[in-house]
């Protein structure tokens, strides 16, 4: 309800980034998320120590694009691996080895496979980082003390100020009605 003045980073010039509300349990959070979704705030998110089943639907998130990125990575790895080996042994230096033909594809399979996996793995991890905009060491939320609980046992929901028809006091009121027991205004210091 009242702006937390203990927050050391808040100075008068700082502007409101969003409203953060803490909930009791995953179930409470998921209900709240559904309501917020229905309210039509497009910029909101929930925060929890672990992924909560059904939260994606509750928030109305579209399925992740990650698989496509991984597919591309894998495809590249595969063609690169096979291409490299073929070029090396048929073009770069024609060496007769154990009386085998220059293009002995049977022997190229293992390395091709390994490179495919390697590049898919890179695509997966770095794709995920990209989609999540990570690493992002600074975020306004970190300025909120109580938010530290989020990685232990805290369940939060935040509506960001640049959502359409965001009105600070109105939002606080709504969240309270959803069963939030501790509401704070998150400020982004300039």
């Amino acid at each position: 309800m009242s702006i937390n003045l203990k927050n050391k980073d808040v100075n008068l010039k700082s502007e409101v980034f969003g409203v953060l509300a803490e909930f009791e349990s995953p179930s409470a959070l998921i209900k709240a998320a559904e309501k917020v979704r229905d309210q039509g705030y497009q910029y909101f998110d929930v925060f929890s120590p672990f992924p909560i089943h059904g939260m994606d639907d509750a928030m109305g998130l579209k399925p992740s694009k990650l698989p496509w990125i991984v597919f591309l990575g894998g495809a590249f790895g595969l063609s690169f691996g096979f291409g490299l080996q073929t070029w090396v042994s048929t073009t770069a230096y024609k060496l007769v080895i154990s009386g085998k033909p220059l293009f002995s594809y049977q022997a190229f399979i293992p390395v091709t496979f390994e490179l495919m996996v390697l590049f898919s793995a890179f695509a997966t991890v770095f794709g995920m980082f990209a989609l999540n905009r990570l690493p992002q060491h600074y975020h306004p939320l970190f300025t909120v003390d109580s938010f530290s609980k989020v990685t232990s046992h805290g369940f939060f929901l935040m509506i960001e100020s640049h959502s359409d028809n965001f009105e600070c006091s109105e939002v606080q009121r709504e969240l309270k009605s959803y069963g939030a027991h501790n509401i704070e205004i998150v400020k982004d210091c300039l």
Binding site: S25, P26, S27, A28, D45, V46, F47, S48, P49, F50, P51, I52, H53, G54, M55, D56, M59, L61, S64, L66, P67, V70, L84, Q85, V88, S89, A92, Y93, L95, I97, S98, K100, S104, A107, P110, V111, F113, E114, V117, L118, S120, A121, F122, T124, V125, M128, F129, L131, N132, L134, P135, Q136, H137, Y138, F147, S148, V150, T151, S152, H153
Partner: protein, 459 residues
């Protein structure tokens, strides 16, 4: 509803139903409380192991591989045996986190972090050996396809080169997998940090994770995909390691059964190593509530199964040797069991096939001392398996004129011992400074993590 719930957690994977916060406290305790004395002693010991390893390698680089016991028929000895041994151990982690994840085996969550760490350290130890066992170590970079003024390229038909790619890929992917899993828990440590420095350091590696669900969404997808990738990978790695032998001509090496046989063996030894370490850790760090007896029992069941598979492979090899009516093949195996290296062969059999049979009995499966001893036996046995395969096949092959006997030198042994020093140093640091248990994942499988958990109590 409630019925389903009870069905899901018929065995509680976490003892004395801890809540989220208690769980966090429990896992974070080792890194926050004062370090026990035994830790420093253990660290000192393993550091001296590293010193030993370093000096042995220096000696090796200076003098050449002649300081090892290798000779003319036996071109591969300890170095390769140790390599395969460590790689084998390095299979448990990824297997637990990937395959068991795909099979939705919730009990994995208690131990996967721990097992993955062990995997990575084992693979690091393994990676040392292929690099240094060659004659001119300073030219090892020729193994990689780098453009050069000689216009020369590696030979992609060589199983050894496949190995280079397989193991390095495996290491990279396991590392990524492990790190991705670590991110949320590093964030936890960051937020619990008592000092600015700690919070800074953990903060850097936590990459600013804040548990947002929009992140969790991609994160879970990524984790799933990694698991899906790691599963064929973990199977391929030891298959390819086995190609080093299977693709050759030698009777005793040239066998189609090798890939599955090696993978089974790898899992076998890996799980044994996990059990050994887990038994210690849960005692020393009081992780009993998370790493429960139930976990250990599951592990032991798998050890029993894979042990049987390995035993089956041993038998099968002999059958094929007999069935092939190929004198060289049959001799190779008769020589294994009765030749100059029979001692090694029978150590292998008794450790790998006989000792795990104890796990048929629940008493043994769930008795800490027994499982500890057996797991160590299995590790010994698996080392000897590699020794038997490598050395006995080489020392007596086609032409009796070139038969000879291989015996390691003190340098061989010291190098092997040293590699354990490296392994345990890394492991101790891990125990002290990183979350031993995947906190977030364990929380997921707590009953109260279920969004409908609350409802049951309301009615």
């Amino acid at each position: 509803m409630s019925v389903v719930d009870q069905e899901i957690n018929r065995v509680s994977l976490v003892k004395d139903n801890l809540d989220f916060q208690q769980l966090t406290d429990l896992v974070a305790k080792p890194s926050e409380t004062k370090t026990p004395k035994w830790w420093f002693i253990a660290l000192a010991v393993s550091l001296s192991g590293i010193l030993l390893l370093k000096s042995m390698l220096a000696y090796l680089f200076w003098e050449g591989v002649g300081i090892w016991g290798l000779n003319n028929p036996v071109g591969w000895g300890y170095a390769i045996v140790n390599f395969v041994f460590w790689v084998g151990i390095g299979h448990a982690g990824t297997l637990i986190s990937a395959i068991l994840f795909l099979f939705r085996q919730d009990w994995r969550t208690g131990i996967n972090r721990f097992a993955e760490a062990m995997t990575i350290f084992a693979v690091i130890c393994a990676l040392i050996f292929p690099g240094v066992h060659i004659g001119r170590q300073w030219l090892a970079y020729w193994l990689f396809p780098l453009p050069n003024s000689m216009a020369m390229w590696p030979n992609f038909r060589s199983p050894l080169l496949w190995d280079v790619f397989a193991v390095s890929t495996y290491f990279t992917v396991s590392l990524l997998f492990w790190y991705v899993g670590l991110i949320p828990d590093l964030a936890t440590f960051r937020d619990r940090a008592k000092t600015a420095l700690k919070s800074k350091i953990y903060g850097i590696f936590a990459l600013g994770w804040r548990g947002a669900n929009r992140h969790w969404q991609h994160y879970e997808k990524a984790y799933l995909l990694l698991a899906a990738l790691a599963t064929p990978l973990v199977l391929s790695v030891h298959s390819i390691v086995s190609f080093d032998f299977a693709v050759s001509q030698l009777p005793g090496w040239h066998t189609t059964i090798f890939p599955p046989y090696f993978v089974a063996g790898a899992v076998f030894s890996g799980f044994a190593m996990v059990v050994t370490l887990m038994v210690l850790t849960r005692e020393l760090f009081g992780m009993k509530q998370v790493m429960t007896l139930h976990h250990l029992e599951c592990m032991n069941k798998i050890i029993l199964v894979t042990g049987m598979m390995v035993g089956y492979a041993y038998g099968m090899e002999f059958f094929m040797a007999w069935y092939s009516v190929y004198e060289y093949e049959s001799f190779a195996f008769i020589n294994r069991a009765t030749g100059p290296y029979a001692w090694a062969y029978w150590i292998m059999v008794s450790c790998n096939v006989i000792s795990p049979q104890l796990f048929w009995f629940k008493k043994c499966r769930t008795s800490i001392p027994i499982m500890f001893v057996v797991s160590i036996f299995v590790n010994i046995g698996m080392w000897f398996e590699r020794f038997v395969i490598t050395v006995t096949s080489l020392h007596r092959d086609f032409l009796p004129s070139s038969w000879d006997y291989y015996s390691p030198t003190w340098v061989d042994v010291a190098t092997f011992v040293g590699s354990f020093g490296l392994f345990f140093t890394l492991f101790l640091l891990f125990l002290k400074f990183l979350p031993i248990v995947a906190i977030a994942e364990v929380k997921m499988i707590l009953p109260q993590a279920n969004p409908h958990h609350g409802d049951n109590h309301e009615h």
